[in-house]
Symmetry: C2
Subunit: 156 residues, 2 copies
């Protein structure tokens, strides 16, 4: 068995354990220098945290381990194609490669909203199911100006 399959099978093991206990059927591992540096499984209902998808849990664990908010040089193995939240988190974390097993349509077939949220994000703001209202932009720009002029800011 090659290393990539070994890493994915560990993520799958986590997803099965999660499905058999209190979580959604999703697992994830993050790999650096050919070693697993962090793991995650779905904790949405067990932790009352709608953001605690397997990938987000694994990314947060990896960042704590690495003492860094970027994960350059790392690969992520997820048992399902990441939802838009997790995919975006992967971009923010600057991960190198994504390996996945099930697809968003497989997730849809067991009643998860990944596919629906992908379609919502693609829509114009005023066509989305959750209504979005703009206000107070002039006041809010003040914080952006402070940031833009800040000499010792830590970019991310």
């Amino acid at each position: 068995m090659n290393d990539k399959s070994k890493f994915m099978l560990r993520a799958i093991e986590l997803s099965i354990q999660s499905a058999q206990s209190k979580g959604g059927p999703f697992g994830c591992v993050i790999v650096k220098d050919n070693k697993i540096i962090a793991e995650g499984f779905n904790k949405v209902t067990s932790n009352n945290d709608p953001t605690a998808h397997a990938e987000i849990v694994a990314i947060r664990n990896a960042c704590q381990n690495q003492n860094n908010f970027f994960l350059k040089g790392c690969d992520l193995y997820s048992t399902c194609e990441p939802c838009p939240m997790c995919l975006s988190a992967i971009y923010w974390a600057h991960i190198d490669n994504i390996f996945y097993a099930n697809t968003r349509l497989d997730a849809k077939n067991i009643d998860f909203d990944d596919s629906f949220i992908y379609s919502e994000i693609n829509k114009e703001i005023d066509k989305r199911k959750i209504k979005m209202h703009q206000m107070n932009r002039d006041e809010a720009l003040e914080a952006f100006k402070i940031w833009d002029n800040k000499e010792d800011k830590i970019k991310y």
Copy 2:
């Protein structure tokens, strides 16, 4: 001043405080029954957590306060149009309305990647900057079958 402006100005206050200290220039409050139930500001670099955007921090806080993984009946006030990660988290949390001030283009103008990540998510999988590779779907479907057949599962 109406209540909506009062809530947004509190979020803006948080964003300015964050920009003046260690965080990115973003703030957020979550409102239920016309009261702020949770607040958040950007903690990406201060906490080494690329997922700690103001909205995600506020959603996590609200869910802990409410002892629930859904935030039905809640509105979210963010000082910037949510990035795709945060917008998806808002969908997963089942929030009612989004109020925002700055836009993704305002964020782009001070070098934040929101706009870039929106464009990446819209692309076909094989056209994205971060490469995605599918593998081991047959093995991964096992967890989905366990979930699908589970009688006492907590849906989300």
